[in-house]
Structures are given as C-alpha cells and as structure tokens.
C-alpha cells in the first residue's frame, strides 16, 4: 500500500498532493509511475469529480476543480477520493506508449555535442550511443507547451549548463542540462547543451491534444539523417 500523500490547498479551487518528501531532489520512478496511474483513474472520473485540470508534476499532483454556484466546497470529498484511489495505485506504467524521436546529432543540428563529449571524457560517437540507447520516462510536462521532463539520462552524460545561455535555441533542439535531457518544442532562450535536432513536431496546436508526449510515455531517441 502506498504511503498517504501530503495534501495542501492551493488558492480557492485547487489542491496539491505531494507524494515524495517535499525537498527530494527527484521523485523515485516507482512513485511517479503510481502517480501516472492515479492521473488515469482521476481522468476517468474527471466529469463526476468536476475537475478542470489534472496536472502531474515531479512527485506531485495539482487538481483544479469547478464549483457550481451555491454548491459546497469539494475539497474534503475530493481529498478523500484521491486518497482512496491512491491506495490502489501501483508502480507500473499501465498502458505504456513508446514514442520514437529521430535525432540528427552533432554538426549544425547539435553545436554542443563536442563540448559535451569533452566534458564527459567520451567520444561524440559514444555520447550519441549512450543518449540514444536509453529509455526515457516522461515524468511530466511544463515550461513550454509539449516540453517533457524526461527521467533516465545516463549519469555519464550529465553536463552542466553553458556558461552563457543562448538567446535562441531552435525548436526541435535535443539538449542536455545537468542531469536532464529534453527536446524544445518551441524556440526559446536557454543554457542547455544542444546535442541534436529532431524534425518531429512536439507541439502542434492544430492537432487534438496539441502535444506529442503525455505524462507516462516512454521516449526513445534514434540517430537519423533528417532531411531539412
């Protein structure tokens, strides 16, 4: 059975559940997996619970509700429902979706590949191999539409951010920042080390969901020669 989360209110129409110690540096994967399952179960009850937003974070969850005028505050009942559902959640990724992202590594597409290789004491080829052979878990999304916080970067590839952030990292850039790796759906200023580029759109507002990746997905990077 899962340990009960710490639940706090947020504003008048939301609550936050913390499933890890609040000061943890990263949530353990099993905790996050159980959290994805909780999100799925809440999604199934979204209408009944009158939930406007179900937003998993890193080892935490934000729920925002709708409260029809004159109705009682749903906080207490929602809290009870979350605790009941959480008890039955397991540390598995139930309906795992695997998303393969083709990446053109190095060169103009990945101007920092050499620096990362140098910092890690590896050859660029080895960096590409390590980066593309791991399975990454989409812990949650945030920062930009479609930007996924990925867990699973090989510790041998951990590289500090650049001393001078770039004014614009192009959309589709695959980058490493500290112990994290990710793909930028949109152009942004930033200090992460850009090692490659994908032509796959991670955010497309004309599609139904908008974002390619969802919390709980598994991501694989595949070296590719992309046409530009």
């Amino acid at each position: 059975m899962n340990a009960a989360p710490r639940i706090t209110r947020l504003g008048e129409d939301a609550l936050l559940c913390h499933f890890t110690a609040p000061d943890d540096t990263a949530p353990p994967l099993p905790v996050q997996q159980a959290l994805w399952q909780l999100c799925q179960r809440l999604e199934a009850e979204r209408a009944a619970l009158q939930l406007r937003e179900i937003v998993p974070g890193m080892g935490n969850l934000l729920l925002r509700w709708t409260r029809p005028p004159g109705s009682p505050c749903p906080f207490t009942s929602l809290q009870a429902r979350v605790l009941a559902l959480w008890r039955a959640c397991e540390a598995v990724a139930p309906t795992q979706r695997v998303v393969t992202i083709p990446v053109r590594y190095g060169g103009e597409a990945g101007p920092d590949l050499e620096d990362v290789a140098h910092h890690c004491g590896l050859s660029p080829t080895k960096v590409i191999a390590l980066h593309s052979q791991a399975d990454y878990a989409v812990y949650c999304l945030g920062f930009q539409p479609g930007f996924a916080y990925l867990g699973g970067l090989d510790p041998r590839l951990h590289t500090p951010r650049r001393d001078t952030p770039r004014l614009a990292i192009p959309a589709g850039s695959v980058a490493i920042g500290g112990s994290q790796t990710g793909v930028y759906p949109l152009s942004t200023p930033g200090g992460w080390q850009v090692i490659g580029h994908t032509a796959l759109p991670l955010f497309d507002p004309t599609t139904e969901a908008g974002a390619l990746l969802q919390p709980g997905d598994t991501v694989r990077f595949v070296p590719a020669q992309e046409a530009t």
């Binding site: 947020l10 504003g11 008048e12 949650c140 999304l141 945030g142 539409p145 949109l186 974002a211």
Partner: protein, 334 residues
Amino acid sequence: MSQTDAMASIDVLRAGTLCSVQDLGRHGRRHLGISQCGAMDMLALQQANLLLGNPPGAAGLELSLGPVQLRFTQAARIALTGVDFGARLQTPEGGDVPVLSGHALALPAGAVLSLARPAIPGARGYLTVAGGIDVPLALGSRSTDLKAGFGGHAGRALQAGDKLPVGTTVSTLVTGKRGVRGFAPTHVLRALPGPDYERFTQSAHTGFWLQPWRINTQSNRMGLRLNGAPLALRSAVNLLSAGVLPGDVQVPPDGLPIVLGVDCQTTGGYPRIASVIQADLWQLAHLSPLTSVYFQPVTHAVAQQALERQTRYLARLTTRLLVEAGAEGRPDGR
C-alpha cells in the same frame, strides 16, 4: 469578389503594442504544458460581450498600448470596456465623435475607430464586436498565446495590415442608455495563504501582508513583479517542479514576489507564499507600474462569496440589458 472580401472584417490600420485577440482562456490542458492565456480582465471582456448580446466568452481584443486604429468593412456593433482609451469614431461621411466606454455602439460600414492611449498607463481596455472576433479555435480557445505563438490571430499581437474576421450574430440587441460601469482597481489583492506559507519567516509573513508593494515595470501578462523589502525563507529550499495557477504568488530567491498572470507557465519550482483570490485577478490588468498594491488575507469563505457575487453581477447584467433593449425597442430600425 472572393468570399473573404464579402465577410465582415476589421482592418487593422494601426496596431499599437501588445494588442491581441483574447477570450476566457484555454482550459484543461495544463498537464501538456499549455498555458491558460485569455483576457487579463475577464470581467471587462464579459461586460463588453453582454452589451452586444454575444456569449460572455466571445473573443474580443485586449488593448494594452495605443494608438490602435481599426476600420470596419461592414456595419457593426461594438463595445469598449476596461480602461478608457480616448476612443473616437470617424465615419465615411466625415463625422468624428468621441466614443463612450461601457456602451454598445452601432457603426456604419467603413467607420474607423481610433484608440489613443489608456487613461491609466499600463491598464488594459477591451473591444468587442457583435458576433465576436472569429479567428479559428486553437486547442479549444481563440486566445492568443503570445509566448508560445499560437491561437488568436496568427499566434501573435496584432500588426498593421491584419484583417480580423468578424463572426455572424443572430442577436440584434441594442442596449439602453445606461450602459455598464467599469470597475476601478482597489489596489488591494485579497489572498489565501499559499502551500509554502509556513516555509517563510515570521517577519516575511508580516512584511508580505503589511507593506505596500511597488509594481515593477517588468510586469506583463505572465506575471506582476513586485518591489519591496524581500521575503525570507526559514531555510533555503529546492522544491520539485509542481503545477502552478494564475494568482499564485511565487517568491524566487531574491525574495521579491511575483503574482502569476494568465500567461504563466504551467509548472514552477519557487515557494508560494499566497494565492490571490479569483475575484480579484481582474485587477492585474489595471495596475500601473510604479503604483503600489497591498495583499489582504481572507478566508476561503470570503473568497467564495466574492466570486459568487461576481457571478450574480454578470447574471443580473445579462437580464438587465435584455430587458432594457426590449423596453427601448430597436432604435436603429433593424
């Protein structure tokens, strides 16, 4: 003549700065990193829609800085709310008259509406047109996400030369002489203690509620940045990224609070000392840089009462405008 030319539209002659198409925002997609956006002053946008018989959430224009000049290709009905922009109307016949905020106004085809500047620097105004600004829905909303560059018109603030489509309407509502009164910001933001309130020192608690906070010029739709005596934590924390909402008051390491606005990111990692209540969020659209704001602690019950009072106000306004329109007939003869 192409079909586009036949449709009613608004030609943007001058776009000002940061004038954008907004509705009541994009909801239910924060787990994908998609921000809310929408009008900063949702009350004013709804007032302006109700004046025209539009659905309250129809898309309109949020005006930030003038001068904005718009030409209406077809006869139209419009309403202006929020801060006064010193609007004037030029008709093809050579007329040039001031336009009152808070009233519905019928314009002839070819009329040009000129909006000079906000009476209060940094405050926002709203313009609606009967039928709404008919840009395509993007992820469930017509709001412009200026940061991500999608939604609204071409995913950006308006530029001279833009052509905005106007939707069709069945309503011929012509509102009475009374119009609607705008709300003046009180500069007091009622707030609930945030999830990290206890992480702050006693003197930070006192300082937060008691000192006047000066509004930093760096404020925008993403957040209201405040200057004052910095707020200290009991001990340094490194929080994991978690969902945040508009109204949350984050305190970055410099100790200076930021009230998150409608365009804020979906996740954040700074401690949150408070959340501004929903009923007071409209004020963020009207607080001028270099003026001051106070936070006032309230209970959940007070927050809910304030929100329900607004809901009732909008419901009463809807009824009142319909009744007045019925009583005065249709002076435009349509």
